[in-house]
Each structure stands twice: as C-alpha cells, then as structure tokens.
C-alpha cells in the first residue's frame, strides 16, 4: 500500500485541525472564576483566588460567605434550616448556593465557554 505525497499532506492537515480543535476546546479551563453575591438588590463580585470572608446583609441578618482555596461556601446564616450552610462549596461556573429566607444568592461566574458535568461518547 504505497502512500503518495498528498496522502501524507492530507493526514498532516487533519492532525493539525484536530490539534487546533483540541487546544481551543480543552485549554484555558483553569482560569479563576468570580463569585457573584446578590442580596438586597445589590451585587458584589469577588475573585475566587483571593481568600476572604464577607458578611452579606439580608432581611433576617448577616449571611457569612467565605471564599477559601478557590471555593466559596456559606459558613453561617440566620435562616431556620441552614440549608445554605450544608450545601457543598462551589467553584465551577454555573454552580450556586442560595439562602432563600435571607434572600442571598451566591454563584460562580466563569469563562464564556460552557462547562459540562460529564462527557460520554
């Protein structure tokens, strides 16, 4: 099976295109996202890569949002069930934690590209 010149060129072009797509689709996913906290009609945006603790004022009191090691979570909140405190820390774009009684909404805003939970072919 003798391969001729343009066969090799065709395969090379194919590999180039595949690499191009790979870089475009898979790289640049580790850029640090931002946490958006919304409460009382106001909005705050903090980067995920700087540790901080914020007391977010709501109608019931202060919801404590902590950003640590690239993740954000609710440490304490004046609501009766504390569901928001039990929710796991968020770090990926699209994830969110909300305290409905205290009207606090915390979410991660990331790259424009859609993050996916799982890929199967």
């Amino acid at each position: 099976m003798k391969l001729r010149l343009f066969d090799y060129l065709a395969i090379a072009v194919s590999l180039l295109v595949i690499s191009g797509f790979s870089v475009y689709a898979y790289a640049g996913r580790n850029k640090s996202g931002d946490v958006v906290i919304e409460a009382s009609g106001a909005q705050w945006i903090y980067p995920l890569n700087v540790d901080r603790t914020e007391a977010v004022k709501g109608p019931m009191g202060d919801t404590i949002v902590v950003i640590r090691e690239g993740k954000a979570f609710v440490e304490d909140s004046p609501c009766p069930d504390k569901l928001c405190v039990h929710m796991p820390a968020i770090s990926q774009a699209g994830q969110w934690i909300a305290c409905l009684p205290n009207r606090v909404f915390v979410r991660v805003k990331g790259n424009n590209r859609q993050q996916v939970d799982e890929i199967s072919y």
């Binding site: 395969i11 595949i18 475009y24």
Partner: protein, 147 residues
Amino acid sequence: MIPKPIPFLRVGIANLPILLSLDLLPAPLLLLVVLLKVLGQGLIGGTLFSYVFLFSAVGSFASGLSMLLFRRLFGSRISLVGVGVLGALFSNTAQIVLARLLIFGEGAWLIAPPFLALGTVTAALLGAFADRFAARSQWLVSAREIG
C-alpha cells in the same frame, strides 16, 4: 443492517461507493450518487424528516464535493487514502459546525477532537481498502468499460 452500536462505522462504509466512483463518474452523476446515499440512509434509518437527515446531507455533500475537488486537483499525487481523509475532515467539520449552530452551542467543540480523530482513522482505512479493491477488482474493470 450492521448493528447499531457502531453507528459511525456504518456511515463510514457508506462512503465506499463514492470513493470508488470518483474516477468513474462525471461530477453531476457522482453528486447524484451522494444524494441517493443520503436519501437511502434516511429512508432505511427512518430519519428522513429529522435533524439527523440534515447532518447526513450536509456531511455527505461536503465530503462528496471536497473529494471530487481534491481528486481532480491532485491527480495521481494523491491516493484514495488522502482523498478519503480529506473528505472525512470536510464532512465531520461541517457537521461539527452545524452541531454548534443548531444543537449544542459551545459544547459542540468538546466532542470535535475525538470525533475528527476517529473520522480520520476510519477514512484512512476505508481509503486504503478502496485503493486495493480498485487495483484488483475485475468487477471494477468491467464497470470502467461501461462508462
């Protein structure tokens, strides 16, 4: 007829008549074969009035036209392996773009590399088979004489 678990393989083999006819048929007739392939697959698979048909049509015509072009352009400096690889590249890229626009949005790019890689490999294999078949087949010789 070949079991569904490997749908892409089935689609690949359907390109065999196209590859073999590249040298046999004039352009309009070749494109007619492509159309028949698309309609035939749509009818048998029951996908005639669905998104799948659109993908099939776009992919098949993209590959059919590009394979015609490259075969005529490069002549004996390219074999059916290269032609097939380029045809698969054009077909699959066109389908990815269509998927980006119609169905998946930005998520379509995620499946592009494995999809294209698989397409390249199967196209190369199919092209190699087509080349060997064309070299050895007596049936093909008689087909050439008819044309």
